[in-house]
Amino acid sequence: MSRAGSSEMPPPQPAPDSHSKPYWEHLARGELAIQRCQACREWQFPVLEFCRRCGGALGYEKLCGEGTIYSYLVQHHNVAPGFDALRPYAIALVTPDEAAHVRLAARIVEAAPDEVRIGQRVRVEIVDLAGGDYKLPVFALLADGASSDAVQGGDPPG
């Protein structure tokens, strides 16, 4: 047993199955793509074998890569191998522009954790995942990413 994130330990690596393999293949080509129903056009994430709305066949389609932060956390305690040197780091749940009901969890890069806000606009960057051959989507804050609740909607009034 060694403590998390010791320098020799790589971050967790994905173990794709037949349905998620295209997700990682798109990333390897520098594209962020998730499943979409070829019958009813519903976006779907995480992966399934068929559309959960209509039972139709799913294919992968590219996202534009921009979205809005629904929520976020700042990780201080070491809970994952390979992240010791990055602490504290921010992870956000990002709603992609095309799919208001989908949330993608990813690290926020190129910003101090205390700069991150709910409602901020973000854009994907695809980076190498250390310790293997995979690429990973991370998000950077957009320069004009003013906090905007109009984009989010959904919550009851405070």
Partner: protein, 379 residues
């Protein structure tokens, strides 16, 4: 006449940071203690229910170790704190349907000395849904609830003072609980000065990992008349799982499973939150207690912080919530310890922390997208 069931006995081990015991030894000890408390013998047991996340021992193994020839009703539920009320409901149903006459429900775990989040034997290969999160350093439950808590802060202006008020209230309750692991009083200043785990959570926002076991005995209400203690009845149970438990995909993180369970539970029992004399709310994190205090209707949405701060959730207020100190201060026996406290209080056996003549209580279990809750009554 319909068979009715009741809780007739409770038992537990010490709750500690390092039990030095196996989950089997602790399950056996808690079960023996619960049967002795009830005034029943091992030979009476013909049913067993337990839950685990792959970190405990099966009912079959416990029954065997106790010397039972066999069990007529056996249920090993795969689940976390979200099923801690479901398992009690199962035991009641098993007795009331005649599947068994005496059912033992237990939870046994070494959540402190056993596997710890943040320790790894080797490189991690993340399959299934975790392949999309773990490579980002997003891989422990507290991170989900931190996302939910931050959203509540954004929507309602909820502050760290609000989370702190819950941690302080429960700790002050645990001061009067000799079975609790953390009994030194906590001030709001100490709360704010404590280290971050994952913002917005300090260490005091997180449940106290514990080693230990507890058990409850359920039999018929008729048989309970001849036993030692005032029995405890179940008035209704409701569980809910949303989005298959995919917490990141839940629509509105300012409300939990409890927003779906509460209206159905109050409707089914014909009761209201104001009827409850105390409540044991699942509190893996302060935010879980905050959101569920609101969802079950003890206060308005967005007002839980001031509800706790103004003393409405403690002795002399509207309702005593977590008189034992909860998972935050008594210890993380995965929520089954909340049911033990409910029985102690309803029997009038809670000693210096006794709630005044309680008749009804709510016990909740779980967090975020999945959970269950029930109402108990003294007989």
């Amino acid at each position: 006449m319909k068979r009715e069931a009741a809780i007739v006995g409770i038992g537990r081990t010490a709750y500690s940071r390092n039990s030095g015991k196996t989950t089997l030894a602790m399950a056996v000890e808690a079960t023996r203690n619960a049967l002795a408390d009830a005034g029943l013998s091992l030979n009476d047991v013909d049913g067993m229910v337990a839950f685990s996340t792959g970190d405990s021992v099966s009912t079959g193994a416990v029954g065997y170790a106790l010397g039972l020839d066999g069990l007529y009703f056996q249920s090993d539920v795969a689940g976390g704190g979200n099923v801690a009320a479901l398992v009690m409901s199962q035991a009641f149903m098993a007795v009331e349907s005649g599947n068994c006459d005496v059912a033992v429900v237990y939870r046994s775990l070494n959540s402190c000395s056993g596997h710890r989040f943040g320790t790894f034997a080797g490189p991690i290969q993340a399959g299934g849904d975790s392949q999309f999160s773990a490579p980002h350093g997003y891989m422990v439950p507290g991170q989900w609830f931190a996302m939910w808590a931050r959203r509540h802060m954004h929507t309602y202006g909820t502050s760290h003072d609000d989370f702190g008020a819950i941690a302080v209230t429960y700790r002050n309750h645990a001061v009067n609980n000799s079975h609790a692991m953390a009994r030194s009083p906590l001030t709001l200043e100490e709360y704010h000065d404590s280290r971050w785990i994952m913002e917005p959570f300090h260490i005091y926002d997180c449940a106290l990992e514990a080693d230990g076991a507890c058990a409850l005995v359920v039999t018929t209400r008729e048989r309970a008349r001849d036993l030692k203690h005032r029995p405890v009845r179940l008035l209704g149970h409701v569980g809910y799982t949303g989005k298959a438990g995919l917490n990141d995909q839940w629509d509105d993180m300012t409300c939990m499973y409890s927003a779906f369970v509460a209206p159905r539970l109050w409707d089914r029992t014909g009761l209201a939150p104001s009827d409850m004399d105390f409540a044991c709310l699942y509190d893996c994190f302060t935010y879980t207690a905050l959101a569920t205090t609101e969802d079950f209707g003890f206060c308005e949405k967005g007002e839980a912080g001031s509800f706790y701060r103004s003393g409405r959730a403690t002795y002399g207020g509207d309702i005593v919530i977590n008189p034992h100190g909860g998972l935050l201060s008594e210890g993380y026996i995965h929520g089954l310890n909340h049911h033990v406290e409910a029985v102690l209080q309803l029997r009038g056996d809670a000693g210096v922390r006794q709630v005044e003549e309680p008749e009804l209580c709510l016990v909740s279990a779980g967090a975020a997208a999945y959970g269950s809750a029930l109402v108990y009554a003294g007989d």
